[in-house]
Amino acid sequence: MSSSETLSVEEQLAAGQSDDGIVRAADGTPLKARLAKALRREKLRSFLMISPLLLFIVFSFLLPIGDMLFRSVENQIVQNTLPTVVEELERWDPASGELPDEETFAALAKDLKVAVEERIHTRLGSRLNYEESGFSGLFRTTGRAVKKMESGPYKAQFIEADKDWGELRTWVILDSFKAPYTSGYFLSAVDAENTAEGVQMKPENERIYLQLFMRTLWMSLAITFMCLLLGYPVAYLLAQLPARTSNLLMILVLLPFWTSLLVRTSAWKVLLQGQGVINDILVWIGIVDDASRLVLINNQLGTIIAMTHILLPFMILPLYSVMKTISPSYVRAAKSMGANDWTAFWKVYFPQSVPGIGAGAILVFILAIGYYITPALVGGTSGIFISNRIAFHISTSLNWGLAAALGAILLVLVLLLFYIYDKIVGIDNVKLG
């Protein structure tokens, strides 16, 4: 600045550049700073314009996901409810094969008395019951008994109150879940558990989640494929027709959106069940014997049929809007060069509709993977999805930690598939129109 002070404003204006080599604006401030200032105002304004949306996304999207991820590992309840016991257990070696000492039991008495006063001991019982049956009752009965425990030795009194306190297993569980964060929910979510011998798969008759994840994935893929198979010709037809007709037909495509999900699903029941319309017609025509009616519902087939119907518009709409942009002259050009109808379609039209397929498939797949109402109603035992278990743990068993872990795994799976899709097809090859 100092050197430029010697120049008059007019001189600077005329030169546009001062003798120190810095390009300056008309008022003498360096042009770069001037530009940055002008842009800053612009940036601030655009930031203010998007800030409501940003806040909305943070509160409605990022925070819940963050909360879910946190819940899937959070386990502070043991430390908060039994702080002294947790301290005492530091000295205890679960591999010793012996129960903790009297001091630990005394700590248990002390902590439990406080917990009972605050009525939080049963909450801990419910939490630990997710890991091992019986903890719920153990803490309930012990909660009543501990009020009467005046003085030590406590060990015998606790075993008297509930013999489970004399079981090594009880203390091993307590010990392995004393940390404020746990991998227990995630282990459960993949049918594994923490045992004294380390992480192991659960017994065969308790494994369900891995199988459900696999089933959810392949059935969602099957539904996506069915939607594509049925939706492509419809979208193609709509794109070829004049606007008036295609708008009318588009209403038919959107019609399912205007009826309740439950009504639609129930309608499928009426159609598909053993004594349902489709079976009745097949029997009446004579294709199917009355005694061997087709099983079309309460299995995977039922889920695939009903969900394909429900999700079909999500495939047709992006396909249609992409096909609308494909000029008919491409196919004409191909034909003029000697391609027959099929070659013209397959080599020229279809590749250009791929972005619509990508968008539709991603939409349908992501919606399908999270569905649970329809699978619950028409899926029977073999057609239910992982989301049904998530819903169960959210609303019935209240095991939100496990639900969060299952949700987190589902999220990771979807992101993984997204990544694979990006590698194979390319994410820029997705277009909504």
Partner: protein, 377 residues
Amino acid sequence: MKHKSLLLAAAASTALFSSTAIAQENLAEAPCEGCAEEMTLVSWGGAYQQSQLKAYVEPYVAATGVKVSFDESSAEATAKLRAMNEAGNVTWDVVDVVASDAIRLCDEGLAAELDPATDLAEAPDGTSAEDDFGNLRVNECFIPQIVYSTTIGYRTDMVGDNPPTEICDIFDTEAYPGKRALQKRPIDNLEWATYCNGTPKEEIYEVLSTDEGVQAAFDKLSTIKDDVVWWTAGAETPQLLADGEVVMGSTFNGRLFSAIVEQDQPIGMMWDMQSFDLDGWIIPAGLEESRMKRAKHFLKFATDTQRLADQAKYISYGPARKSSAPLVGKHEELGIDMAPHMPTDPANAGNVHNYDYTWWADNRDDLDAKFQAWLAQ
């Protein structure tokens, strides 16, 4: 679970005059002081909620002028209460839940503990509320309202001259070929299977506490696994029966009552080993003083002997108070005696399965996982 029965949807309000008058007398004796003037009740919707409305909500509103709104969220009550509790903003005042949910809510510290001596009304003969409800009060938070049962209905035209008479007939696919509808949960099904394995009723839970016992129960269920349609909503079994999709199936007795008596379907009822369950009220924990007072004041009135008996006029579920049983009268609309349709009626309650709530509270997570794994096999 949803308590609904179509025929009871609209009840004549004229019949309310007598009980309303009594209600006003009772309430005049004990006006609510320092109580909130608004209250949110959570219930199941449908005919069941209607019976509550007619039997005691309307009389209570008439007597006190309190503004009552209903939230039909009982099916998701546990999850929603927990979410509200975590957010620190519980908007519900009185919540209608089944007993097992009440246990969970109480264990989670989400329901307030109630003192039967002060918070509940005595029976007219002076019997304490504690004795009048007896062991139906499954814990300190729960005030039982009605006894319902999960029982078996069957197609009369599909079983010929040999209708099923005992619970083990559901496992007899030779005598009763065809599909059967069972609830998609381990509760009831495991007990019935164990019982039909030859275990005496009193030892069912003892046997189910062992791995071998659970395995044996699943083995028994496996014999009919291919013949079972699993239901999740109470309306499904009556519909499946009406469509002829199943030959028999379990559901709530009120659902069967409405299918048989009102819709005149060819359905029969088999009460053997009916599984008693309870539905009742809890008050969410941590309500502010005035709202808590209002909730208790309402519940004291709504669960007294006369009110519970009144409710049975609108729906075929038994009142949870012993003292209410003799007061159960005729159906408000059909004019038939309601007593023979109550699960608690001696003719129906000959062989009853008493569902052990505390045992299930301990074992449900574990057995549910096993049940799901078994289903998926």
